[in-house]
Amino acid sequence: VGPTVLANTGTDFLLSWKTFAIAGLAYRFGPSLVLRLVTSCYPRDSVRRDELTGEFQALHQWQRLRFVLELVELGVCEGLVVRWANRDLKRLFFSLATKVLLAAQFVVLAVGINIVQLLLASVIFEPEWANGSMLLAVVVLTVCCYLVTGRVRRLVAARSPKRQSTSSMRANPPS
């Protein structure tokens, strides 16, 4: 058994400084992240957002993890329900459509890179030029996707209803 095998054992991983660093970061920043997710379940003008943030900040670090884990249930059962009750289906549809479009852009990019790289590398370039052809394919496809999605996004924005800004919503809260 050589040193390489020993270095890959589970015990070494548990005792490594990286594990402690990740655990420390998760302990320090994890609860804040979960709280942010929970509060984002509520509408922007909801009092619950400020209430939960105030409670969270008043707690000690060791109490926060349990508190935010309990809040996940609240965020889903109360926040998302309120959001769903106040939903604007048209806006929701266009928002989802934009997100799906962005995801599709990356899929197209990934598939296209593979295809173009294969074509370029086999037809035009010598095998040792494979990296260069891949770079070229990435650049060409990124520009294409950017142009296409930009056009579609403008189209979607033109058709979607106008959204009220946060500042104007705070100045004129919905009754």
Partner: protein, 103 residues
């Protein structure tokens, strides 16, 4: 008021100090009720006028922290929750919770 284990426990936590301000996390610990159950109960009692709420700073813990929301029993709330607790104490289903000491 519809009596449930959670509502009786929260009522008991309120009525242990009926004149004080109560905070969400403190109430959930004292009543041993999850936040997901506690906040809807508080919301319902606020709408019924049994509670009033406000925002208070907590300088002893975090001077620069955001204000906390507190809940306080109204006169109607003290009467209603007192009656509900009396009923719960007679009911064998809630006996232990309704009489549970608060710390």
């Amino acid at each position: 008021m519809r009596l449930t284990h959670a509502s009786v426990a929260v009522a008991n936590a309120f009525m242990s100090e009926p004149w004080d301000d109560h905070y969400g996390y403190e109430l959930s610990r004292r009543a041993r009720v999850r936040s997901g159950v506690l906040y809807p109960i508080l919301e319902r009692w606020l709408q019924q006028g049994w509670l009033r709420d406000g925002w208070a700073d907590h300088p002893e813990q975090r001077p620069q922290g955001p204000p906390r929301r507190y809940y306080q029993l109204t006169d109607i709330g003290r009467r209603e929750l007192g009656q509900a607790l009396d009923v719960a104490r007679m009911d064998p289903r809630f006996g232990v919770i309704a009489w549970a000491p608060q710390y």
